[in-house]
Every structure is written in C-alpha cells, then in structure tokens.
C-alpha cells in the first residue's frame, strides 16, 4: 500500500485529501501511478491528465515522472506552489 495525498485546487476538484492505494504490478514510478489515476476518468482525468499543471512529491521530496514508487511510500499531487 502507498498513501496518496492531494492538495489545494486538486484536493477540491478530486473531492478527497488522501487515500490508500494497493500498488498494482504495472505501477513502479510516478508516471505510471499518475496514469492509473487518470484512468479513473472524470475529475481524475481532468485534473491529472498529461499537460495539466500538476507537481508531485514522493516521501515529501519533489519528484518527477521517473521517480520510483514502492510499498509504504507517501506520494502527493498538487498544483504549482503559490506561497510567500
């Protein structure tokens, strides 16, 4: 299982702030996890489809499509940051 967190406008459009996902064998990195979520369709496709302005972190460090994901990881998806 991994924990997936969603923040800000993405949290609102997806209607949830976190979930537990059992990793299928096809998911081994951030890109394949994102594809799994996009395949849910609807708001998931609208918010996470390729080209959408989404940033991601794995275990609380900024990550990219080829960042590996393993059981026990904490993954987060969010829009570009706007603090300060």
């Amino acid at each position: 299982m991994i924990t997936v967190l969603y923040f800000a406008s993405l949290r609102e459009s997806l209607g949830r702030s976190s979930e537990q996902i059992a990793l299928p064998a096809t998911v081994h990195d951030l890109e394949s996890l994102r594809a799994l979520l996009v395949a849910r369709g609807g708001a998931w496709e609208g918010g996470l489809a390729p080209g959408r302005p989404v940033r991601a972190a794995v275990n609380q460090a900024m990550a990219h499509g080829d960042t590996r994901i393993a059981d026990g990881d904490e993954v987060a998806f969010f829009p570009p940051v706007t603090g300060g």
């Binding site: 800000a8 406008s9 987060a76 969010f78 940051v81 706007t82 603090g83 300060g84």
Partner: protein, 152 residues
C-alpha cells in the same frame, strides 16, 4: 536555523533580536516581510486562506536554507510562514538572515525568498468580490528563482 509554520502573527524586532542574541560575529541582519494586499490580478481580495503540506513544507524550506548556506557565509537564518486565514495588511512570511557583512546577508535573504516562492508547498486561496479562487503560480516567480542558477 529555524523554520516555523504557524497560524499566529509574528513580531519582527523580537524575532531579529532572538536570532542575533549573544553573537558578536553578526555585523549585518537582512530581513524580508511579505504582506497580504487587498488587490490581486485586478480584483479585490477580502481574505485569503493559506494551505500547506505539513512535514514537506518544513523540509523544503530547510533544504532551501541549506542551499543558501552553501553559497554564502551566513551565521543564522529564520523563516516564519503563516498558514490559515489571513486578511489584507496581515504579515504572511518573514525571512531573516544574519551574517558578518551585508552583501551576503542581502543575497541569501533574497535567494531564500525567491526559492520559497517556487519550491515550498504552500497554496493561496483568495476570497474576492466574485467568490473564492485559487491563486495561480506566476511565471515571474520562476524567472526570479531561475536567475540564481545563472549567478556564480
């Protein structure tokens, strides 16, 4: 080095005094205060809510401070960032850098702020006359952060 994420307001002179207390090597203290404005993108802002990613936000700012310390000789750094609901005139963020000389303190303070704007996970949602809206990231902030990569 201190990083605080809090809902409470802060007092700049109290924080600066604490940062340099008892350290006679400090010859310069540079600080930046970010404040909530009542307008943004042509609309009126009545209030805003700041959301963050507990845990990662602190780590990201500590990482930015670490980069600043590797580039400039600074003696101490404090970053306070508020979260929750804020109103126009409220203070949002404080960056204080204490160093031996002003040049390095100024540069490190600006660097930390520019990197915080583009790398620390915070998100602003504004309450405006036309309803609530999430603030969109600005390309000018990316440019401000990027120029530090070009400086030696």
């Amino acid at each position: 080095m201190t990083v605080k994420i809090q809902t409470a307001d802060f007092d700049v002179s109290t924080e600066i005094a604490a940062l340099r207390r008892g350290n006679p090597k400090v010859g310069a203290v540079a600080s930046f205060v970010g404040v909530v404005r009542d307008t943004n993108d042509g609309g009126t802002v009545a209030a805003m809510t700041l959301e963050h990613y507990p845990g990662m936000t602190e780590k990201a700012i500590e990482e930015i401070i670490g980069q600043a310390r590797s580039r400039w000789n600074v003696l101490n750094v404090l970053v306070i960032h508020r979260v929750g609901q804020l109103r126009p005139l409220d203070q949002i963020v404080l960056v204080v850098v204490a160093g031996e000389h002003r040049g390095e303190a100024f540069a490190a303070c600006e660097f930390i702020m520019d990197y915080l704007k583009t790398r620390a996970p915070f998100w602003k949602k504004e309450q405006t006359g036309k309803g609530a809206r999430w603030v969109e990231a600005r390309q000018t902030d990316d440019i401000a952060a990027e120029r530090w990569r070009l400086k030696g």
